[in-house]
C-alpha cells in the first residue's frame, strides 16, 4: 500500500486554504510550512498567465530522508506514509540535505525536524488530512496509489501527470494533474524583486540574479534558508587536518622516514584534538545537542551520519593510542616501534575513512546535486593529505629527508587538489541543479573566493613549496603550510554554501 496525494492544479485556485488548515492542525510556527502554494507568472500581456503549485513532502517510495536520518526519526509506515518521531530527532539537518523538495524544516518550537506527515494522526482515526478537507475546489485527493481501483488511481488514470524532480529517483508519491513545469521545476522560474503579495526572502532574491534567466518568474513562495553553515564547513577542515596529519605521519613511519616528534607526537595529537574539535562542531551544530548520543544509542545503520560517527570514533581511538604510544616512546626507553607500525597500518584506513566518509554522507544528500560527485571521495582524501602535511610542516623542525617527505606530499596533494577541482567544476555536470551550483562557484557569487583562494591559494602554495622539493629552504614551506589551511577552509565554505544555494522548490 502506498498512500499518496494527487494535486489537481486544473482546479486549484491558489487560495492557501490548505496552507492555513495545515498550520492550525499542527500549530506550526510562523515562517515555517508543511505545505504551501507557489505562484509562477509568465507570458507577456495580454497573454499573461499564472500557475499554482502546492508544495509539500512527496512521501517518496525511496525516501532519501529516511536513509540519511541517523536516529530513525524519519520512517516509512506500512501504509506508505513517510512519518517522523520528533522525540528521536537530534536536529542534525541531514534530512534537509537529503530531501530534494524543501519539504523538511526544523520546528522553531521543538528544534526537531518536521514535515508533512499526511496528517497520520488523523489517518489513524479514519480522517482525511486537514488540507484535503478544507480545499474549496477539492483539488487535493488522497488514496492508495498502489490500488488501481482507488479513487485517486482512477482520477489519475489516463491523464498526463507530472511529479517533482523525477531524476532524483526518489519515486515521489505526490502526483500533479494540470501543473505547469515552470511551477514544479525550481530552476524554471527565478524570483523577481517582489512577490504578488509578499517579499522574496533575501537569500532567494540574491540567488535569482545568478540563475539562468527564463520567461517565468516565481511570484509567491516560502523561505528555505540553508540548513548547514560555518560549523559544517569548518568541521570539514578540522577533520581533514586531523586525519591527514596522522595519515602522512603513518605513511612516513611505514616508509622509514623519521619525522621526529612531528610524526610521533604532533601528528597523533592533531588527530585527537582536531577530531575532538570536529566532534564539538558537529554537536554544536545540532539543533538538539542534548541528544547527540542518540546517534550511538538509537542508530540507523543505513545512514552515513552514523557510520561517519563510528569512523571518527575509530580514528580518534587509533590516534589516541598512537599518541600514547608516542609519549611512551619519547618519555621512556621502551621501543615502541612495532606498536607504532601496527597503529600506522590502522591509521591509514581509519584516517582515510574519517576524511572520506563525508563523500558517502553527501552521496545520500539527494537534495544537493553539487555534493553528489564520484570525485568527492578522492577530493576529500587528497585535501586531507594537503592540510595534514601542511599542518605538520608548521609543527617543528625536520631534517632534509623528513622535510622533503612532507614537502612532496604537501605539493603533490595541493597540485592534485587543483587538478581535481578543475575537473570537478569545469566538466559538464550531471544535472541542471549541479550545473547551476557549479556556475555559482566558477562564475557567480563564489567565483572570487574559488579562483583566488581555493585554486589560486593552492597554486601559490605549490609555488612556495615546490622549490623546497629536497627539504630546504623551510620558511616558504611554512608559509605554504599556512596557505593550504586557508585554501581548504575557504573551499569548504564555498562548497557547503553553493550546494545548498540552489532552490529546491
Amino acid at each position: 500500500m502506498q498512500y499518496g496525494f494527487a494535486i489537481d492544479q486544473r482546479t486549484c485556485i491558489g487560495c492557501h486554504a490548505c496552507t492555513v488548515a495545515c498550520k492550525t492542525e499542527h500549530e506550526i510556527p510562523v515562517g515555517q510550512f508543511r505545505t504551501w502554494v507557489k505562484y509562477v507568472d509568465s507570458g507577456t500581456f495580454p497573454d499573461s498567465a499564472r500557475s499554482y503549485g502546492v508544495m509539500r513532502c512527496n512521501h517518496c517510495t525511496d525516501a532519501p530522508c529516511i536513509t540519511i536520518c541517523p536516529t530513525n526519526s524519519l520512517f516509512k509506515r506500512e501504509d506508505g506514509i513517510v512519518d517522523f518521531d520528533g522525540d528521536l530527532c537530534i536536529g542534525c539537518k541531514s534530512c534537509q540535505q537529503a530531501c530534494p523538495y524543501d519539504a523538511i524544516y526544523i520546528d522553531d518550537n521543538t528544534n526537531t525536524a518536521a514535515k508533512c506527515n499526511f496528517c497520520a494522526h488523523r489517518v489513524d482515526s479514519g480522517l482525511e488530512p486537514a488540507c484535503v478537507v478544507v480545499c474549496p475546489t477539492h483539488s487535493i485527493w488522497v488514496g492508495d496509489l498502489d490500488d488501481p481501483d482507488s479513487g485517486i488511481s482512477q482520477l489519475l488514470a489516463g491523464e498526463p501527470t507530472l511529479v517533482r524532480a523525477p531524476e532524483q529517483k526518489t519515486k515521489p508519491n505526490v502526483v500533479y494533474l494540470g501543473a505547469s513545469i515552470s511551477v514544479l521545476d525550481p530552476l524554471a522560474a527565478p524570483v523577481d524583486a517582489s512577490y504578488y503579495s509578499s517579499t522574496p526572502d533575501p537569500h532567494r532574491a540574491a540567488l535569482a540574479a545568478e540563475l539562468p534567466p527564463t520567461d517565468a518568474k516565481t511570484t509567491l513562495n516560502t523561505a528555505h534558508p540553508r540548513p548547514w553553515g560555518w560549523r559544517v564547513s569548518t568541521y570539514l577542515w578540522t577533520k581533514a587536518v586531523g586525519a591527514g596529519a596522522l595519515m602522512v605521519a603513518a605513511l612516513a613511519h611505514l616508509l622509514g622516514v623519521d619525522l621526529g616528534v612531528g610524526g610521533s607526537l604532533v601528528a597523533p595529537a592533531l588527530g585527537v584534538v582536531m577530531t575532538a574539535a570536529t566532534g564539538v562542531l558537529l554537536v554544536w551544530d545540532l539543533k538538539r545537542p542534548d541528544r547527540f548520543y542518540y546517534i550511538l544509542t538509537k542508530p540507523n545503520p543505513r545512514s552515513w551520519l552514523f557510520w561517519g560517527s563510528l569512523a571518527l570514533a575509530a580514528f580518534a581511538g587509533v590516534a589516541g593510542l598512537y599518541l600514547v604510544t608516542g609519549l611512551v616512546g619519547e618519555l621512556s626507553s621502551y621501543d615502541v616501534d612495532p606498536i607504532v607500525t601496527v597503529l600506522a597500518w590502522l591509521a591509514l584506513p581509519t584516517g582515510a575513512l574519517a576524511a572520506g566518509y563525508t563523500a558517502f554522507l553527501f552521496g545520500q544528500a539527494e537534495g544537493r546535486d553539487l555534493w553528489q560527485s564520484r570525485l568527492l571521495l578522492p577530493v576529500l582524501q587528497v585535501q586531507a593529505v594537503m592540510v595534514g602535511a601542511g599542518a605538520l610542516v608548521l609543527a617543528g623542525s625536520y631534517d632534509d629527508a623528513a622535510g622533503a617527505f612532507l614537502v612532496r606530499f604537501l605539493v603533490g596533494a595541493a597540485a592534485l587538489h587543483v587538478v581535481l577541482l578543475l575537473v570537478e567544476f569545469l566538466r559538464p555536470q550531471h544535472s541542471a541543479q549541479a550545473t547551476a551550483a557549479a556556475g555559482l562557484v566558477v562564475r557567480g557569487r563564489y567565483a572570487a573566493l574559488f579562483w583566488w583562494v581555493a585554486i589560486g591559494g593552492a597554486v601559490f602554495a605549490v609555488a612556495l613549496a615546490a622549490p623546497s622539493w629536497d627539504g630546504t629552504p623551510w620558511a616558504t614551506v611554512v608559509l605554504a603550510g599556512i596557505a593550504v589551511q586557508g585554501v581548504l577552509l575557504t573551499y569548504e565554505s564555498v562548497f557547503v554554501r553553493a550546494g545548498q544555494d540552489i532552490p529546491l522548490s
Binding site: 491558489g14 486554504a17 512519518d83 486537514a130 478537507v133 480545499c135
Partner: protein, 936 residues
C-alpha cells in the same frame, strides 16, 4: 442523514459522523506518533471573516474547554464542509494575544490614545441614557448604527425598528451599490445568484475564485462547472487569480465594460440568437414602445425590430475602441455567450460597477444579455438573490417607523442603493444634522473609506456626541471612539444569515461555541460573557440589554419588543429569540428537528445550518396560492395588488401590496419585484425620477475613460480595490497565519508604463491624485494592462498610538499638518516589527511592510444615480520626490471638499411621483411607512 459536505476517500472520511460530535476523539497532532487521545466536542458555527458565512466546526477540548482549532461544517449547504484560508485562521483571531478583552472608555481627547477600563453596566447606562433622550426629544435621526460587516440578516433592523429610528447605515456604497442599482432597475432584486455548477458559460466581471460575495461557495461551483465543460470568461484589467483560470480573459480599459456587454446584446439581437418567447412574456416591451416609439405598431415583433435598431450602434468595433482591446476577443466572447443555451451564469459585484461613473450600467447591460439569452432563473443560468435567500423574522416584529433620515437618504440621491454613507462626514460638516449616538459596528471608515481624514475630522468634531465602536479588534476608527466595546468573533456570538450561494436556500447559524459546550456539559451559562474570553460579549445580548435600559418601564413602547415570547414581562434571552425564530419562521425546520427528536433550536445548535429548499429555478413563474391572491385585483398593467394605505410599509424589496402579475395569456404568477413585476427593459422609474435619458440600458462614459487619461503624460488609472484570497479588510489584521502569507503592497505596473516612467521593480513612485498624493513601491508585471496600475485594497494599516492596533499588521504613524491646518500628511514612523507577547510567534514576525493607505488620498465620488463611490482614480505617476518616504500619504482637505462639491453637483435632487423621496420598490433597510416616503 447525508450531510451536503460529507465525503470519503476510500476508508478516510472528511469529518467525523454527526453522532460523534459531542464526544469525538482524535489523536494529538503534536504528540504523534505517540497516540495521545484528545476528547473534543465539535460545535458548529459560522465564519465571520466575510459575508459568505461559510460553516465552521469548532473543536473544543473537553479537558480544558479551549478551542483547539476550527475546520469546516459538512452540514452547511453553501460551503459544504470547505473553507478559504480565512476560515481556519479564525483560531488566530480568537487567540490573538492583543485582543481587547474589556470595555474601554476614552480618557482625554478623542484620538489621544488614553483609555480606561469600564464596566459594561457603566457603558450601557451612558449609551442608553443618550439614546433615550434623543428619542424622547424627537431627535430620532441622531441615533445611528453604522455597520460594516453585517454577517447577519434581520436582527439589527428589528431593534432599530423597535426603537423607531431610521438609524441604519451601511458600507454598501463603497462596495456594491453600482452593481445593485443596475440590476434592481430590471426586477427589483439587487444581487445575482449564478448557478455556476450547471452552467455552460460562466461570465465573471469579478474575481470569484479569490474573493467577493460569495468566494468559497462560488469558487467550488465555478470549478465544478468548469470541470463539466463550462467555459469561463473573465473580464478584468488585471490578471487576477480568477483570470488565470479563464478560457477567455478580456482586459479592457476600465469603464468600457458596458460597451462590451451592449455590443454582445446588439449581436444577439442582430442575429436573433435570443429567447424570443421569454422576452415577449417578461420584458415590459409595451412600456418600451409607448415611451420611445409611441407611433410604432404596439406588437412584439415591432418591439424586437426597434430594440435591435436602437442598439445597432453598439458594434464590436465601437466596443473594441472603447475598451482598447482586439476586436477578435469581443467576437469570441459574443460567440461563446450566444451558444450558452440559456445556461449563462454571470456575476458583477464590485469591479467595474464599483469603479466607474455610471458603472451601474455594467450590471444593467449584463442583465440585458442574460435576459436575451434566456438565462434568467434557469438551471445553469443566473437567478436573483431573493430566490436563494431567506430571512426569518424575530418575534413580535415592531411596526414600521415614520422617520426619514436625510443624513443617510438625502434628496440628492433618491435612488441610491443603500445609504449615502460616504457623504456622512461632509453632511455633518455642513450642519445637515448631528449624531447623538453613533455606533461603528465592525466598521472602519477612517481606513476603508475614501478621504479618511474627513472621517477623522468628523469623528473628532462636536457633530458626533458619542462614538461607540463595536469591534473584535482595534482599528484606525476605534482609535477615535469614545467607547471601544469588544464583541465576539465567529465562535463567540449568535447570528442567523442566509446567502445566495447556489440554487438552494438555506439558513445559517452562528453561535458562541463554548457557551453551547458548557450547556451540553451540564454547566449552562445565561450570559455569553461568561463563556467568552475576558468580558468579550455578543452583540445580541448587548442590544437586548441596551434596549431595556433605553425603556426600562416600557413607556416608550420599546421594551415590549425585547420581552420573552415565552414569559411576558421578562427580558428576552438569545435562547428565547432563536427558539422562537426556529420554531415559527423556518419552513421545514420543525419537521426535520422532530424527526431527530430535537427541538428546532437544538437542531440548529447541532447542525449550524438548515437547508430550506433545493433546486429553485424560475420563481418568477411560481403560481400564487389562494392566500396570496386573496383581496388582490389587477391594475391597468396586470399587476395584482392588495389595497394599501399610507400606514403600510413596503416590504424590504418591492411595492406595498404588490403580489403578482397577470400575463397577457391570462396566467398569473409571482413575477418580479419591480413596479410592473416584469423585467423592465424600459425603466419608468428612471423616467419618473429625473433621468429619462437613462431609462434603458446604455453606456455612460467613465470618469476615467481612455479619453480622460493620457499615459503619455504619465497618467494612469489606479485600481485601489483588488483583493487577495487571504485577507479581509480590518479583521484579518491579527490573523498571523494570514499575514505571514500576504504582507506586502507592491504597485502593479505594466512593463510598458514602467519603461516610459523610467522605473523598475522596487522603485518608489509618487502617485498624485485629485486631492493629494501617495508614495508606493513598483512591481513591474505583465499581469495588468498598460495604462492601468493597481494596489491591493488590504494594506496600509496603521496605529497612532503604540497599543491601539494589531502589531501583526500595523506600523506606527504620525499625522501632521506641514502646510497649514488643511494639509494632512500621514507618515510611517516604523513598519511592522516583531514584538514580545504570550505567543512566541509574535517574535518571529519577519515581514515589515505596512503598506500604503491609499484611500486617504481619494476624494469622494458619489455616482449620481446609484450613490456608489467610484473607486477608480486618475493618477499621475512619477518617480518619488526627494524627501518622499514609502507609505507617505498627503492630502489637501480643501481639495477634498471641492471634489465632494463637484460630484454632488452631478446629482439631481428629485421628488418623485406623489411627492415621494424614493421609489418604493427599491431595497431600503428599516423601511418606513408609505407616509414617511412622502416628503412633507
Amino acid at each position: 442523514m447525508n450531510l451536503p459536505g460529507e465525503r470519503t476517500h476510500e476508508a478516510l472520511r472528511n469529518f467525523p459522523p454527526v453522532e460523534n460530535w459531542d464526544h469525538h476523539v482524535e489523536y494529538d497532532a503534536k504528540a504523534h506518533p505517540r497516540k495521545v487521545q484528545r476528547r473534543f466536542m465539535l460545535v458548529p458555527t459560522t465564519c465571520f471573516n466575510c459575508e459568505s458565512a461559510c460553516g465552521l466546526l469548532a473543536y473544543i477540548d473537553k479537558d480544558d474547554l479551549s478551542i483547539r482549532k476550527l475546520d469546516g461544517n459538512p452540514a452547511h449547504p453553501g460551503s459544504r464542509g470547505r473553507n478559504c484560508a480565512k476560515g481556519p485562521a479564525t483560531i488566530n483571531q480568537l487567540d490573538d494575544p492583543e485582543r481587547i478583552l474589556y470595555p474601554l472608555r476614552r480618557k482625554g481627547k478623542r484620538g489621544g490614545g488614553e483609555w480606561e477600563r469600564v464596566s459594561w453596566d457603566a457603558a450601557l447606562d451612558d449609551i442608553a441614557a443618550r439614546i433615550r433622550q434623543a428619542i424622547v426629544e424627537d431627535r430620532h435621526e441622531e441615533v445611528m448604527y453604522h455597520v460594516g460587516r453585517p454577517g447577519e440578516d434581520g436582527f439589527s433592523e428589528r431593534f432599530l425598528a423597535a426603537w423607531g429610528v431610521d438609524g441604519h447605515n451601511s458600507h454598501t456604497n463603497v462596495c456594491s451599490s453600482g452593481a445593485r442599482f443596475g440590476m434592481a432597475l430590471w426586477g427589483g432584486y439587487d444581487r445575482p445568484s449564478p448557478d455556476h455548477a450547471n452552467a455552460k458559460v460562466i461570465l465573471l466581471l469579478s474575481s470569484h475564485l479569490e474573493t467577493g460575495h460569495y468566494f468559497n461557495p462560488h469558487a467550488q461551483r465555478i470549478m465544478e462547472g468548469k470541470q463539466s465543460g463550462a467555459k469561463l470568461i473573465v473580464v478584468d484589467p488585471r490578471m487576477s487569480n480568477t483570470a488565470s483560470h479563464a478560457d477567455l480573459w478580456l482586459a479592457p480599459w476600465p469603464g468600457s465594460e458596458a460597451a462590451i456587454l451592449l455590443s454582445i446584446a446588439a449581436f444577439l439581437l442582430r442575429t436573433r440568437r435570443i429567447d424570443t418567447a421569454y422576452l415577449e412574456r417578461w420584458f415590459n416591451w409595451r412600456a418600451y414602445l409607448a415611451n420611445l416609439h409611441p407611433d410604432a405598431v404596439p406588437d412584439f415583433a415591432t418591439f424586437l425590430d426597434r430594440l435591435e435598431a436602437d442598439y445597432a450602434g453598439y458594434t464590436f468595433e465601437f466596443a473594441a475602441e472603447e475598451a482598447q482591446i482586439p476586436l477578435a476577443r469581443i467576437e469570441e466572447l459574443a460567440d461563446l455567450v450566444s451558444h450558452c443555451e440559456g445556461r449563462l451564469a454571470a456575476h458583477v459585484w464590485r469591479s467595474a460597477a464599483a469603479g466607474n461613473l455610471g458603472g451601474w450600467q455594467v450590471a444593467r447591460a449584463l442583465w440585458f444579455v442574460l435576459a436575451l439569452t434566456g438565462s434568467i432563473g434557469t438551471e445553469g443560468g443566473t437567478s436573483p438573490n431573493g430566490w436563494n435567500k431567506f430571512i426569518p423574522h424575530g418575534p413580535s416584529m415592531p411596526p414600521p417607523h415614520e422617520h426619514w433620515n436625510e443624513l443617510t437618504w438625502p434628496r440628492e440621491y433618491p435612488m441610491s442603493c443603500n445609504e449615502m454613507s460616504i457623504l456622512l462626514p461632509y453632511f455633518l460638516a455642513e450642519g445637515r444634522g448631528k449624531l447623538a449616538v453613533y455606533f461603528s459596528r465592525v466598521f472602519n471608515p477612517v481606513w476603508t473609506y475614501p478621504d479618511g481624514f474627513s472621517w477623522l475630522s468628523a469623528l473628532t468634531s462636536d457633530a458626533v456626541e458619542l462614538h461607540v465602536a463595536l469591534t473584535p479588534t482595534w482599528s484606525e476608527t476605534a482609535e477615535f471612539a469614545d467607547y471601544v466595546l469588544p464583541m465576539g468573533h465567529a465562535a463567540e456570538r449568535h447570528d442567523t444569515h442566509s446567502y445566495e450561494t447556489h440554487s438552494g436556500r438555506w439558513l445559517g447559524f452562528r453561535q458562541p461555541v463554548l457557551r453551547v459546550a458548557l450547556e451540553r456539559l451540564g454547566r449552562p451559562v445565561t450570559d455569553t460573557r461568561d463563556s467568552n474570553p475576558g468580558e468579550v460579549w455578543e452583540e445580541n445580548e448587548f442590544w437586548f440589554d441596551l434596549s431595556w435600559r433605553i425603556d426600562p418601564d416600557g413607556s416608550l413602547g420599546i421594551r415590549q419588543y425585547f420581552e420573552s415570547p415565552y414569559e411576558p414581562g421578562v427580558k428576552i434571552t438569545v435562547d428565547d429569540y432563536y427558539r422562537w425564530v426556529f420554531e415559527n419562521q423556518v419552513p421545514g425546520l420543525p419537521g426535520k428537528a422532530a424527526s431527530e427528536g430535537l427541538t428546532p433550536l437544538a437542531y440548529m445548535r447541532r447542525y449550524g445550518a438548515v437547508s430550506v429548499a433545493e433546486g429553485l429555478y424560475r420563481q418568477d413563474e411560481r403560481i400564487l396560492s389562494d392566500t396570496e391572491l386573496a383581496g388582490t385585483a389587477p391594475d391597468a398593467n396586470g399587476v395584482l395588488r392588495r389595497p394599501v394605505t399610507l400606514d403600510d410599509a413596503p416590504p424590504l424589496v418591492g411595492e406595498a401590496g404588490s403580489v403578482g402579475v397577470r400575463h397577457e395569456d391570462g396566467s398569473v404568477t409571482a413575477g418580479w419585484l419591480s413596479p410592473s413585476r416584469k423585467l423592465e427593459v424600459y425603466s419608468e422609474t428612471m423616467r419618473d425620477w429625473g433621468w429619462p435619458e437613462y431609462a434603458t440600458p446604455g453606456y455612460i462614459e467613465s470618469h476615467v475613460s481612455r479619453r480622460q487619461v493620457d499615459p503619455a503624460r504619465g497618467e494612469l488609472v489606479l485600481i485601489p480595490t483588488f483583493r487577495l484570497p487571504t485577507l479581509i479588510h480590518t479583521r484579518s489584521g491579527n490573523a498571523k497565519y494570514l499575514n505571514e502569507i500576504s504582507n506586502s503592497h507592491p504597485m502593479w505596473l505594466n512593463s510598458v508604463d514602467a519603461h516610459r516612467a523610467g522605473v523598475g521593480t522596487g522603485d518608489l513612485v509618487r502617485l498624485t491624485t485629485e486631492i493629494g498624493h501617495l508614495v508606493a513601491r513598483v512591481w513591474v508585471t505583465e499581469g495588468i494592462r498598460p495604462g492601468v496600475c493597481a494596489l491591493s485594497h488590504h494594506m496600509g494599516r496603521w496605529r497612532l498610538h503604540e497599543d491601539e492596533g494589531s502589531r501583526w499588521v500595523t506600523g506606527r504613524v504620525d499625522i501632521t499638518h506641514p502646510d497649514g491646518p488643511d494639509s494632512w500628511l500621514l507618515r510611517y514612523r516604523s513598519g511592522v516589527q516583531p514584538f514580545v507577547s504570550d505567543d512566541p510567534d509574535s517574535s518571529r514576525i519577519w515581514w515589515d511592510d505596512p503598506g500604503v493607505h491609499q484611500n486617504l488620498a481619494f476624494g469622494v465620488h458619489p455616482d449620481p444615480w446609484s450613490g456608489m463611490h467610484c473607486w477608480l482614480q486618475k493618477v499621475r505617476l512619477e518617480k518619488a520626490h526627494r524627501g518622499d518616504r514609502y507609505g507617505d500619504v498627503y492630502v489637501d482637505r480643501r481639495r477634498s471638499v471641492e471634489v465632494y462639491r463637484e460630484w454632488l453637483a452631478l446629482a439631481r435632487p428629485w421628488t418623485g411621483p406623489d411627492g415621494q423621496r424614493r421609489p418604493e420598490f427599491m431595497m431600503r433597510p428599516v423601511k418606513p411607512t408609505r407616509r414617511a416616503f412622502r416628503a412633507p
